[in-house]
């Protein structure tokens, strides 16, 4: 009887130990972050031989005196992170500290990775194929390193969205622009509109990123329905006047306001142009142009059209950077128009011999260059010449 009880106990103990062995084996296998990354942290602070000098701050002196950073340092990132949290270090600061620390560790590993091929620099620079092959290999290794780093950071910091600083800035800027877009609404309504816009943007994203992906036709149908729903809700939220303003602001014409270099117009005028464009949607472009010309008058309409010309915008970009006036920029643009017009006329004149034509074109080129340099100034002219001056070369060389 005693023997069987002993055997029972021993067997139970067998089972317990077997469970422990299996558990520890499973733990080791399932820990996918390489242990060396987790435990390879560089310890930087050590207990001082003498106590640190405490500044005359308003902090509880005796507590600060008893604490030293070395007390939370560890070679193991997990311990270090836990220690920081134990001190109620804000999660954002824990992230800043850990990410910078981990980045530095991986930076050293990148150095090692590159270091092994440094002595082949000159050979590789002259063998593009071999260099490419090596780049591909190293790229793979770097991607593995990157994945390891992501895993390590996730293990230490949990799953958080690693939004880059640039991305965050872009998000903030886009929020700022959305606010400006609805500055014709009272603040409460503007907030409601932004929420509505956000809600539909999320819904659209959900359709786009659905897994498994839906067919293109299905996607288009869903998006169309979503748009109709959004339009319907907007119509309920906004008054008719507000809705009209909203539509004008959303129209493609409204985007033109970013591109009208040098064209001065009041908000009312620009809005009226957008209204003409919207109201006459579906009519011939010439009709719309005529209506706009009527509204602006011939001179200002010419300025409006000039502002949209790519050739004018090229000169404007340079002139504006160099602080030239609108009149000077307009003069330079007119010079180009006149020079190109004269050259065209000369080239189409069959009575002029090749030699005479080339000579005349050369004169036009030289005169235009001189006039442009005068009006733009040498610095701006040289910049313009190197960026967009191909037409000047062609002026004197194209027969």
């Amino acid at each position: 009887m005693k023997l069987s009880a002993l055997l029972f106990c021993s067997l139970a103990f067998n089972a317990l130990l077997a469970l422990l062995v299996w558990n520890s084996w499973f733990k080791t296998r399932s820990n996918t972050t390489p242990v060396n990354s987790l435990t390879n942290r560089t310890v930087r602070a050590f207990a001082p031989a003498q106590k640190a000098e405490i500044p005359a701050a308003t902090r509880p002196r005796e507590v600060l005196e008893t604490f030293h950073w070395s007390q939370l340092e560890s070679e193991d990132y997990r311990v270090y992170t836990a220690n920081l949290r134990e001190l109620s270090c804000p999660e954002a600061t824990v992230r800043d500290i850990v990410i910078a620390d981990v980045n530095e560790m991986f930076y050293r590993r990148v150095n090692d990775l590159v270091g092994s091929v440094q002595n082949r620099f000159w050979e590789l620079m002259t063998k593009p194929k071999e260099l490419q092959q090596l780049v591909d290999e190293k790229w793979k290794e770097l991607k593995e390193l990157d994945a390891e780093r992501t895993l390590l950071l996730q293990e230490l910091l949990g799953k958080f969205e690693r939004t880059s600083a640039r991305q965050e800035s872009a998000n903030l800027e886009s929020r700022e622009l959305s606010r400006q877009f609805v500055d014709f609404l009272v603040p409460e309504k503007a907030d409601e509109y932004l929420k509505l816009e956000q809600r539909f943007a999320v819904a659209r994203d959900a359709f786009h990123s659905r897994q498994p992906p839906i067919s293109q036709n299905e996607l288009q149908t869903q998006l169309k329905q979503l748009q109709e729903q959004q339009d319907h809700e907007l119509a309920e939220l906004l008054s008719p006047d507000e809705l009209e303003e909203y539509r004008l602001r959303k129209s493609g014409f409204a985007d033109l306001r970013h591109k009208l270099s040098g064209f001065q117009a009041t908000g009312e005028e620009l809005r009226e142009l957008a209204r003409i464009e919207n109201d006459m949607d579906g009519t011939q472009p010439a009709e719309r142009r005529e209506r706009m010309k009527e509204f602006l008058g011939a001179d200002r309409f010419a300025q409006f059209e000039r502002a949209q010309s790519p050739q004018y915008q090229e000169i404007y970009q340079v002139g504006d950077r160099f602080g030239l006036s609108n009149a000077e920029i307009a003069d330079a643009y007119e010079m180009r128009k006149v020079a190109e017009g004269s050259a065209r006329q000369l080239r189409s004149d069959q009575h002029v011999s090749l030699q005479n034509r080339m000579a005349a074109l050369k004169v036009i080129q030289e005169e235009t260059t001189r006039a442009l340099t005068d009006v733009l100034g040498p610095e701006a002219y040289n910049t313009y010449r190197s960026r967009s001056g191909q037409w000047l070369d062609e002026l004197g060389t194209k027969p």
Partner: protein, 402 residues
Amino acid sequence: MKLALAFSLGLNVALAMITWRNSKEQFRALQKPVTSPAVTQIRYEHTPISPPIELGAITNRFQWRMIESRNYEEYVRNLRAVGCPEKTVRDIIVAEVRKTYSARSASVPLATSFWSCGPERQAAERRRVQNQRDLDQESQTLLRHLLGSDLPAESQEEAEDLVEQAILRFLAGPLPDAVFEKVHLVLKQMSDIEQRSNDILLPSEKQQLWNLRQQSLASLQRFLSSAQYDELTRRFAASQLVDHEFRDFQVSGSELREIAGLYAGIYGLPLEAVAFSGNDEEGHTVEQKALFENSLLGFLGETRFAEYKRETDSEFQNIKAFIEQQSLSPEVAIKIYESKTLFDEHSRHLKQAGILSASEIENELQQAQRSMRSAVQQLLGGKSFELYVRQQGGWVTNSTRP
């Protein structure tokens, strides 16, 4: 039963030993760095301490809020006072300041109405950009004030780009870390100036770049041995050469090194080319270009120099691309290019000589063109010739037209 008991007890002992060994190994793995050939050895700032400290009693009294402050100066002072390593102080403060300022910068409003355009909108945009630059400047000044001049070149985002880091490291060569940081910082500053200029550099910005360049050259010469400086200069020059002039011209590694030396000797350390990832030819004077070509002629000899000139000529590159596309022999590209060069020279000579009348020149050129046309047709074959004329070979058919 006795046998079963003995076996079970034996198994217990064995399992207990395995469990003990496993737990010991796991504890070791947590406490000590595991070295493997792929992993960098830890570089300690001081002698390492062993196991992590139990915080218990201390954390009961010490809390982060005791050192944290809205006043950055005080925050830095407190961090230093508790023995926080300088690198960690920098990591914390740089991240905090950059986050704060980038949020402020992104929120700078565009102070103009929605329906504004032209000069009014541009003025508002300029004001916005200026405000953002002022904030950027303010954050740099603040960081320098808090941490000294030794600021990191890169933002966290850039530090995260391992590929980018690897490329620059490879290009710069085996430099000491501190010097590499300096090079990186200068490149970053140059690239910032260029980006801000929207690709249109004002004289003041050119001056800024020049000053930066002079300062960094002086600093690099101070921190590097002449051999290290020479190697860095040649490497940067080589990266510029293989991306442009020497993209298609074959040289050996040692030849490239020599040519990069000639290039750097004439144009200097091409920092701008690396910083802007583009061609830095714009800043080269005609005299410098002539000097480089002469040096190259001396180094390569006449025959190879002629090959170099051909390979860098865009006309030849176009012909070569077409020949490759048609899977024809590379020799064909060379022959067509030579025919074209001869024809161009002949044509130029006739036009400049001024001996013949326009109609005589035309006749002469038409004759030359006919023979050249049949030569090119023979080289390419019927179908490829037709395609070539359509795509880029207008010169074969209409060069003589008035």
